[in-house]
Symmetry: C2
Subunit: 322 residues, 2 copies
């Protein structure tokens, strides 16, 4: 029991005893067993997190924010990748819950029936992120992916563009991507503009290469397009490089907008107009929400993130041509 106390920072052991114990432990190569401690105290110190892909700077930033904030309270993240696949997400959630996390964070509001049931039944905080779910399971920290595209369309319309196209992924797999496409269509309709210039660039996530290929198709199908809204900065950058290769000037001939405020967008030539979704803040706010709920101190309220459009050099006012 004294050994146990010696390993807990704030418990009552004489300084001398503790020192002896810790030194001896180090000599013996003893390593404290969290597994046993967690079983007994019914606190795993884990927060389970599922993200669509590990190889995405936005989600990586969110995980970074979560991880850094939670580690200040000695909690660790148990991470899983869904590969943009709800069935995979279901398997993952089930597997993660077996580790008895103290909270679970999932991306977006679209899940299988069974995954929803698992999350509703489990007696820990559930936080959906990167979206505002139509029917939240527990809490959420996110924003409307549709509204975000409205902002981008409004930006282009304010610049005088009317023939605006959208480059995104194949429809169903990426819920947030589809939501952005829907938001684009709705915004175009609200302006009485033709919302049918939609290029499907392939299964999510859309790579730079797929963005470039989609741009080539777009130029062929709708050569008189004035502005292009892309589902992410990666697709937008791909589109930009395709223009480079074809000797097409951006923003002179096409304005281009992306999403996600990736590093590439502020370094490439021209810099990319984009939307900052505050990826790291999403993680930090989610972690704070979790800590509030676990503490029971503050009530723990949903967080609406306000993405911000960043106008850069890839979009500019249309010069009068006609």
């Amino acid at each position: 029991m004294t050994v146990s106390r010696a390993f807990k920072a704030d418990s009552l052991v004489s300084a001398e005893t503790r020192e002896t114990i810790l030194r001896t432990a180090e000599e013996l190569g003893y390593v404290f067993d969290s597994t046993a401690a967690n079983l007994r105290s019914q606190k795993s110190g884990f927060v389970a997190v599922t993200i669509p892909s590990i190889n995405n700077a936005n989600f990586a930033d969110t995980v970074g924010g979560l991880s850094d904030t939670l580690s200040r309270r000695d909690m660790q993240i148990l991470l899983g990748y869904t590969n943009y696949n709800v069935e995979e997400e279901e398997r993952l959630i089930e597997q993660l819950l077996r580790r008895k996390p103290q909270a679970i964070v999932v991306t977006g509001g679209t899940h299988t029936q069974r995954a929803r049931r698992l999350l509703q039944t489990v007696a820990i905080p559930v936080i959906e992120t990167w979206d505002i779910p139509a029917d939240p399971i527990g809490h959420y920290v996110g924003f409307s992916n549709a509204v975000v595209m409205r902002d981008m369309v409004n930006h282009f319309v304010a610049l005088g563009c009317r023939r605006i196209a959208f480059i995104g992924g194949d429809v169903e797999r990426d819920a947030r991507g589809s939501e952005r496409r829907r938001g684009f269509v709705a915004a175009m309709q609200a302006h009485d503009l033709d919302p049918s210039r939609l290029i499907a660039a392939g299964p999510p996530p859309i790579s730079m290469r797929e963005g470039a290929d989609a741009m080539a198709r777009l130029i062929e199908l709708y050569p008189d397009t004035e502005a292009i809204v892309c589902v992410s900065d990666l697709a937008a950058y791909g589109a930009l490089t395709e223009c480079h290769r074809l000797g097409i000037a951006v923003p002179d001939r096409f304005s281009i907008g992306g999403f996600g405020n990736y590093e590439i967008g502020e370094v490439c030539v021209p810099t990319l107009t984009t939307i900052n979704a505050h990826a790291r803040e999403i993680g930090e706010r989610t972690a704070e929400l979790i800590l509030d709920i676990l503490d029971g101190s503050r009530p723990g309220a949903d967080v609406k993130i306000e993405p911000r459009l960043i106008a850069r050099d890839s979009s500019r006012a249309l010069l009068p041509r006609h």
Copy 2:
């Protein structure tokens, strides 16, 4: 006991009994407790992994390869970020070991004294990756970061370049980055060339922006440089954009080479000459090595990865000028 068996896929329970149990469990919202199972069986199902940064496509690919290969055997990854800091790595290793992982994977061969001791003492496989350590703790799956830079220097020399510069990070923090710088210097000396054109772009990891800033300084300091070796594709891309902005043609005036085969390098204009370090394969081979050792079937040998130079449009033969 029968319930326990019903949840283990391959154990002997009548099909009927198992079905009843699983159905009832689902109705009750019962979730199997891995924590308790692991404590009793002394198998956590975890492999601990430390990487310098979550926000790096190379390390993300390695983790992806590890994760996918290990998940086929129902093992999970417990991930930690060292932030390119060996003290942070030490803390992390200690914390991760408390979770009783069945193996631990660390990046590179540079660690604090105490971290080395912890890893030497612990009775699980230890694998160092992304490097060939001078004094391996256990096994390794990696390549020589110095040799890799020699290949790049040789490439430029074969193209006729003699005034070659290096853009990398501040010296000590990123062991692999420093190793690449040392490799650059050694290779230049082997060719009897001046190895002193070294630009320190800032603390690792070097961002695209820092690569661009370093390029600006390089042009000022050594305007007659013919080729530039960059510590990563991100730095190389930044350097490329700086040239764009200044109206300097690449590869006409400067040849540029990167490292890591990031997606950006095959899409940007011009495409980037780089070195493919087979990041995903590093993860896969590491996972296979771990499984071999845990099985006790095959002996489990170190793996030497062979990075491959990919010549693209950002480097080309120097035209005779003099």
